[in-house]
Symmetry: C2
Subunit: 477 residues, 2 copies
């Protein structure tokens, strides 16, 4: 981390290094046993003063930094460090770690500790943790809350992931529109502190309906006797708890928001969304996309057990195997031709591979434009035309190159021509499918980002083998 905290505070990387050094000073003793050591065993081997020193440096750093250190440690060391963290910070840190790491921490805690950790959090944060907590823990937490917070928690838990409701918090300061700036300032000065990310107050009427927003910065530059109604902003983004989180994220990015009000169907103010939560959401979405593009089902704890990793990677390998079997049978159908002209076997992966590459280029572009809402029935035809044009040119160019390659190695211009034609046809297939697959997925309300790439690769593989071997069978064998 290059971001430098002031001198008094140790840097995160320094703490991480100290943690690993201390924990591993005893590694040799531990490694003589064959199974992974339990955290108690590790702890027992460490000196009391080492542990105290570690604890002191952990206490000095931000909860998000502790979370970072926990993520970077193998499970046994992670649990030793977790035991050193002050109990009153447990809740915040659990919120910061990834799902996979959170599981390992929670599994290591007693229900009593979990209840204590959870009770320190705001209701919207409790709702975020809830899916990972044992049922009894949630019941205890629920009982301990005052009535208003119970209702907030129930509301927050009722919204599905990926909706604005799941991102929302309840830390709102609302004021009425018939008072003056001076009254607002006097009211604020009576508070101990304002909630994080309060860049604006919410102006409501008598019945809690949102009338407008009062930016804090405007409050500071306005004369004291001006009424709120004069300086409030009424043209404003209003979010609904049911709408997609993705749409809220787009609004934050597009309009550079720090916070935005959430209103229910009647226009009543129910909560707010803040930029830090949106930023986490954007990061998480981008990561999920990367993971699924890489063939992983979900985020994986870097040090999860071999077995958990096998399960995480299972789905895509299985799907891939099925598509590979199909491609294999397509080739199998032409075994006769291959037997007569073995060069076909060596050349066919080129046609399939470049087709897959080209199809993925098209699909990446279309899926991205789709996510931004830039694709409609109106411009689909234009896109088809463009992609087919690109593929045709690429097919001629790269088809020419591979045709030449085939000719130079096998000294048959007929083989070269078949290579070139197969390349053109497979790239056209890739373009057609690269545009159609996401459009069809969108039409049937499926996320075009998931699975499109596997599908196009399957089609250009089997299709490429079929086109190439088919043409070869007709013209060469």
């Amino acid at each position: 981390m290059a971001a430098e905290p002031a001198d008094e505070r140790p840097s995160v990387q320094a703490v991480l290094q100290r943690v690993t050094e201390v924990l591993r000073s005893h590694q040799q003793k531990l490694q003589s046993r064959h199974e992974a050591p339990a955290p108690q065993q590790v702890e027992a081997l460490l000196h009391k003063q080492d542990l105290d020193a570690l604890q002191a440096s952990l206490d000095q750093i931000h909860p998000a930094d502790v979370a970072y250190i926990l993520e970077a440690l193998p499970v046994d060391e992670r649990l030793v460090v977790w035991d050193l963290v002050k109990a009153e910070r447990d809740g915040e840190i659990l919120l910061e770690v990834s799902d996979a790491v959170r599981e390992t921490l929670i599994a290591h805690m007693e229900n009593r500790e979990l209840v204590a950790a959870t009770e320190q959090l705001d209701t919207d944060e409790i709702a975020d943790l809830a899916p990972d907590l044992p049922r009894e823990v949630m019941q205890d937490v629920f009982r301990s809350l005052p009535l208003e917070e119970r209702e907030q928690l129930r509301a927050a838990m009722s919204y599905p992931e990926d909706t604005v409701g799941a991102l929302m918090d309840f830390d709102i300061i609302s004021v009425r529109d018939d008072i003056t700036v001076e009254v607002v300032l006097r009211y604020l000065r009576r508070l101990d502190e304002m909630p994080d990310h309060t860049d604006q107050l919410f102006v409501v009427d008598r019945t809690e309906h949102l009338r407008g927003l009062l930016p804090v910065n405007r409050l500071l530059v306005t004369d004291l006797d001006v009424p709120v109604s004069k300086i409030m902003v009424d043209e404003t983004i209003r979010l609904n708890p049911e709408e997609k989180a993705q749409d809220a994220a787009l609004a934050f990015e597009r309009y550079d928001l720090v916070s935005a009000p959430v209103i229910d169907r009647d226009g009543k103010l129910v909560g707010r969304v803040t930029v830090n939560v949106v930023m986490d959401y954007i990061r998480e979405e981008a990561e999920n996309e990367m993971l699924s593009a890489g063939g992983l089902r979900e985020e994986e704890d870097l040090f999860s057990s071999v077995w958990n990793s096998v399960k995480n990677r299972w789905t895509w390998l299985a799907i891939n195997l099925v598509t590979a079997f199909i491609a294999s049978r397509v080739i199998g159908a032409f075994e006769n031709s291959i037997g007569k002209l073995v060069a076909l076997a060596a050349l066919m992966p080129i046609i399939a591979g470049i087709g897959g590459n080209s199809g993925n280029q098209t699909i990446t572009m279309i899926v991205r434009a789709m996510a931004l809402g830039q694709i409609s029935a109106g411009n689909a035809r234009k896109l088809f035309a463009k992609e087919i044009g690109v593929s045709f040119i690429n097919g001629l160019i790269w088809g020419g190159v591979v045709g030449l390659f085939a000719f130079l190695i096998y000294h048959s211009w007929q083989l070269g021509l078949v290579m070139m034609s197969a390349m053109v046809l497979n790239l056209l297939l890739a373009a057609l499918m690269g545009v159609s697959i996401p459009l069809l997925m969108q039409k049937f309300n499926r996320d075009p980002a998931v699975g499109s790439s596997v599908l196009i690769t399957a089609i250009t593989d089997s299709g490429g083998f079929f086109i190439f071997l088919g043409l070869a069978t007709i013209f060469l064998v």
Copy 2:
């Protein structure tokens, strides 16, 4: 867009729809000609009142929304809309559109218009546009700036992309630490408005050295006679203009910042970074990663010319072709064996394909952990052990499945055994390379996210063919 602006303002999607309807009402006339129509021709065919109505709705929406509409339109329609946009908003909109679309807009503008558009912007924003502007335009803009802003612009342009300096702006309000809250408030009240995203004031000493931060919210809840030095925060993130933008982004995410000070080596305050810029940066990075994973060199205008698209996709297709040639030669070396046992040709893509899939899973996980700084020499050995374990188990499982598949189709248990062994070996190769490639790239200071996937696929393709055909040659032929 589900985010609802207040009723007076038309929704973006509604404007986009109206734009396309009006523009396309004359499409039939235009389509009778064969080439794409020039914007002037489109304009000439439209009624004056239609254009006025369009202009009115464009004026009502946010510059970011206009940018969105421009992105979603084919080039000819895009330029008609661009001509309708009020000149004083040109600068802001140019900032919002993607690089590819910006090029098309700038190419359509006269230097005089470009100078006028640019002069409306802040110096940090001018620096963002600068690379896309003609040299003469930048010279004119530069000459028109007051001395202080010239220096800011020169500074902003001197920092490479992907550094904090490139994200930084100069809209800082700084106060001295020896005054009271009351004096600060009186000073602020004299301003017309505060810069966007001012969640804190910067506390400096006589020589402009940063002493601490004064959160605006703390200012509002503190008694008037308290001195700034009492309530300022001194343990704070300080960024340097030279450090990596990525590190600043991590700090914003981890510590939920809205703004952060940028100081030079002497500790002097030179600017600030705000969350909206960081969020754009994160989104852009994620998109670049997706694009390069999909084999595109850079963001592509959805409606760019066929030729521009061909160029954008060139690099990866060429690289892929080279790796395909190599794989083809590996197979070529075993043509003899394939001639004797044609089943090998049908089965070999399975081994290569699953190997590539598995290698990409490993690499995706490692690259992600690397970006978060979670991988060190200390835990590399643990990662190797885990990945090899995962691959071995996967190899046995999926190798068993494909071995059975081969046995059922070709009725040879020897062939089945060779398939299974080849699968285990290729997955082990994939694991070894999946961990080594990113580690090596990091060691040689290259971005492990770029090219790793192509490299691993090339290795598991050629390697898979070699292992499978090699084993088959030894044991079967």
